[in-house]
Amino acid sequence: MLPRVDEVTCEQVAREFDDRGPGVCVARISGEMQRSNPEILDMALRCARDVGKPEEVMVGMCMFYSLLLTQGLRLPKGTPATGSGSLQFSLPHVRAHTRDVIVVQIERDGSEIFTQQWLSSLELDNPQLLQMAHLFASRHADYLGIMQGFVLLYACLESEARAEQSRLH
């Protein structure tokens, strides 16, 4: 499953964006998405373009992705700094097939139920990530559009994580 983002990571990522500037961070994280999650980058860009002010919205999309990535990279307490699998942590690589499965879910349930269901999952499994999404979306005119963008990225990453886990067992 996806890492559960904590407050320390939230502050760390906010500081990084304030230290380096959002433009530099968006370029770095978009590059990381392009390499390891092009499907996610494509969805984030489409959402940003459709809700308006794409550069601003991409800051939120990249922060969201960075929170999960940074959380996964942080070593759990007591984990030795060498020889740990978490040093090689990466988010699940979302496949085109997973994206298709998500489209089927949206067509079957409708976008409102889809959004509500995945919001519940965020609320339960990743409340800090939900806070970040809500705070960011609250500052923009199209609150719902941005929240749906976050929910879509989360649904794809979490579905891929679950699929990876079931393939391993």
Binding site: D42, D100, E107, L135, L144
Partner: protein, 117 residues
């Protein structure tokens, strides 16, 4: 002697340099060269950095910070915000379909179109 309006502009520019992500959450008032910072931020470092950045300006005679830390939104509030945003969108769509009865019908389902390849 710089005007308060000039000092305010300079303080805002300084805030933008110090906090390129979160400067928009902070407002500045200037009265006779004394700056007051207002707004709500998420983290303490943002409050501290904002105050020290504006205090460094030679044209500012003093800085008072009224910046607060924004409380977390309880999950039920987030749920309600999303729910009411859906209802606003529905109302807007209904109004549009009354105004243009021969239009294409329902608003494009954004989330579905973003997910489609």
């Amino acid at each position: 002697m710089r005007s308060d309006a000039d000092i305010k502009r300079e303080a805002e520019a300084q805030l933008k340099r110090a906090l390129p992500l979160s400067h928009a959450l902070i407002g500045v008032r200037v009265d006779n060269g004394a700056a007051t910072l207002e707004g709500a931020v998420q983290w303490s470092y943002q409050r501290v950095r904002a105050q020290s950045a504006v205090a460094r300006l030679s044209c500012v005679v003093g800085v008072s910070s009224q910046i607060t830390l924004s409380p977390k939104a309880p999950p039920h509030e987030i749920r309600a915000a999303v729910e009411s945003a859906f209802r606003r969108r529905d109302a807007l769509d209904s109004a549009r379909s009354v105004q243009t009865p021969y239009s294409a019908g329902n608003r494009k389902d954004n989330v579905r179109s973003w997910a489609q390849r």
